[in-house]
Symmetry: C2
Subunit: 211 residues, 2 copies
């Protein structure tokens, strides 16, 4: 079937949100950890983390300032520091629960049953239960006028992960870490590798990589 712009606009808002959120394809599932200047922590699931570049090593994410997760964006503005932690199979339900609208003075860590992990000289909490954890430093912010969202760009300061997930060539195996994927607003998926393909060149058949 085919829906056009006018059909989309006339959908009931919650139905439209579930539908349009399905259309980008599978999403990453990450937990963003922050603290304010008093050390009060915040934890928010974010499905919009994308790779921006590897030199410098940059990740971007989209935040909606006037909805959840408001505290997270305020803390990043205050301190310039945050963490990004993969959502693994063991913790996807707790991760989803962080999207509830808790009062500002409540830490989602306690409410959902995840554990703060503090590292020396880093003023944002990591998620202990997460297999792949990054310490981030805020670098650039863009206001997206079209709908009032904010693009937040940060540089990776540290990456903590089990060495056995790492291949010689740099590939980190997200199935070994049991990282999950998200679709729409509420559906979590495990993955099953099809194959890793060689670097594509014109007029050369692709080969399957063994790693």
């Amino acid at each position: 079937m085919k829906l056009v712009r006018e059909d989309i606009i006339s959908l009931e808002p919650r139905k439209r949100a579930l539908f349009i959120n399905s259309l980008s394809g599978f999403k990453s599932a990450n937990l963003v950890g922050t603290a304010d200047t008093h050390g009060r922590t915040n934890l928010a699931i974010v499905s919009s983390v994308v790779h921006l570049g590897s030199d410098p090593a940059l990740l971007a994410m989209i935040m909606r300032p006037h909805t959840v997760p408001r505290g997270t964006l305020e803390n990043i503005s205050e301190t310039g520091i945050y963490t990004i932690n993969h959502v693994n199979l063991d913790i996807y339900q707790q991760a989803h629960q962080t999207s509830a609208r808790y009062p500002d003075d409540i830490s989602e860590f306690n409410e959902v049953g995840l554990t703060e992990q503090w590292e020396p000289n880093f003023i944002a909490p990591f998620v202990k239960e997460s297999a792949i954890k990054m310490g981030m430093k805020f670098r650039e912010r863009h206001h997206l006028k079209i709908n009032g969202t904010e693009l937040i760009i940060g540089e990776i300061q540290s990456v903590d992960f089990p060495e056995e997930y790492w291949s010689q060539d740099g590939f980190l195996d997200l199935e070994k870490s049991q990282s999950v994927a998200l679709s729409s607003l509420d559906t979590y998926h495990q993955t099953q590798k099809l194959e890793s393909l060689s670097y594509a060149k014109p007029n050369l058949p692709l080969t399957k990589l063994n790693r």
Copy 2:
């Protein structure tokens, strides 16, 4: 193990690219179809499409102007029109092959064996073999100074999909469409649904949705 900023910088460039590209988590896999003002077509796999908002219905993606897929960005600038097509199980190898650096006057459609689908009054080609196809209109562009990439925001003008993948509540089932997920630069994954979870509220247990 833990790598810090200086460790990352000192990695060999290809190894660093495979590694940093793993860190955002699973990515969407989409084919972006465009044409120039002479109707010459271009097709490029893009792993950075993200949901930006549902009212208006917006998708964003990140493009590297000085590398692949250069023709795609030029065509979008020229015409303001493009398509986003899900990469399905049946076509992920052809989709990967579009990342090869073909000369400007060569259409990736022919080279990789995918079929152009033209719709009335729309000047960019869809991918016939793709299950979920969107017609897009360019809306806003942001130059990301930090590494010279461009954030391209477009509004969904049309969505074409098999009706049986669509739930009453708006959710579109990306496993029925056999949409694939990507990790790092070269690895394709099928998914297996864990569960759909209810809208999270403080102090209320999550329930599993039946859809």
